[in-house]
Symmetry: D2
Subunit: 137 residues, 4 copies
């Protein structure tokens, strides 16, 4: 599927059957796992892996998540997770949408807001901002 050019990064993942719950759809919490994995891959892509952050004493911390659930994913489905990012003060705001790779339908639309701790204290996230610069809106 073709993505809107507002997105700066995307990955594709397959649904794994253990992520399906008794309703026959992906359990609501697993989408947060997918979103986290996509953010971490985005950080790799931007040249600053999650592990490198931890080694540098930086810890990105979620402070707010909003998820709108549109259409569920099921066994056998493949998804596209698309991201665009902006800074709002000291917060990094990740706009993350998941689409059904086969149909293009939107599965969820999420806004994930993070701050960056440096040695346990709130930082302005300059280092992260620099790495993300080419991608920020």
């Amino acid at each position: 599927m073709e993505l809107d050019n507002k997105y700066c990064y995307s990955i594709e993942l397959d649904v794994r059957d253990y992520e399906i719950d008794s309703e026959g759809i992906v359990n609501n919490a697993n989408y947060l796992h997918y979103l986290e994995h996509a953010r971490h891959r985005f950080c790799d892509h931007a040249g600053f892996s999650f592990k490198a952050m931890q080694d540098a004493g930086l810890i990105p911390v979620l402070n707010r998540v909003e998820v709108d659930y549109k259409t569920p994913l099921r066994s056998g489905d493949r998804m596209v997770i698309a991201i665009w990012v902006e800074m709002k003060g000291v917060r990094f705001v990740f706009h993350q949408d998941i689409f059904n790779a086969a149909t293009g339908e939107m599965v969820i639309s999420a806004v994930v807001s993070c701050v960056c701790l440096k040695d346990g204290k709130l930082s302005r996230g300059e280092l992260l901002a620099e790495k993300f610069k080419p991608y920020l809106k």
Copy 2:
């Protein structure tokens, strides 16, 4: 700890160590698991278990989740999950706050909005509303 009387139901849970991630705190997605478990226990308490709903052809479906992350839970912590519920049109809106049982600190504050499908179609959720009546704000 003493809960504000706006809440109509609460449960206590222990953090399990497999819920902790490499940052030494409960992974963000696990809070959605805690919230779901508390909602299902609330339904049991209200006399309408999740399984009874499924047997009656009713499927509660999440349509939106908002979570504000305040202070993380860690290994060994015990939490209180408190709930109050309101109806907005056809949506059941669960206000769910998690507190550290030892300190009383707020861990997360969440708003979870559900609709009820009856045989696959959006229903007005009368049956659920009736069961929840004594608890609704």
Copy 3:
């Protein structure tokens, strides 16, 4: 239910609905979560929490797990996890059986074998052995 007196420790847990998979039964991997949680609670009980171990530079590491699946747990079930422990050389061998709390039926029978790393190297686990002494067969 009454437990055989070979067991030295037990806990009770409720099945959480997100642990159920599309077959309507607890997913096979979740039993390993239950078993780990029970072992960690046993360590707490024996006066040596998992966190205290980590702080002391000790890391218990699984080297083998065997699970026989007997009868599945389902939504609404409550389980009893019973443990007895023995040492075989440097290995701590946990015999862990899970029972359906309502019926007494055996759900799984597991043998979990661990070794203890001290500062990254295999240790003889003296400290752990001392704490576990009152419980060892």
Copy 4:
């Protein structure tokens, strides 16, 4: 990496950071998730998806799992999951080894034994055996 030709199928997966626990390694239970996902992909590959089985009234049920843990996977690692299968009476026995894709080191070695229920009763699994025939040792 090159696999021994005893294996009839393999897939590659990336470790996701939420699968890492507070020890900085993949949590022991997640390997069962990886193994299940690989078995389901193998079934797809053999032309008989897990969903198709369910639709045909067949339910594969685990009856025993043995896992030897060799070297842990960590953040950023990629794994190869290799499978070979044999029938022993009515049991399908999956031999599943996980390797670190970068180093070729064995991560875990597992034997997973399943039976097949047909409409709730133990079956001889003829249909599954037929699909798996080209792959069985």
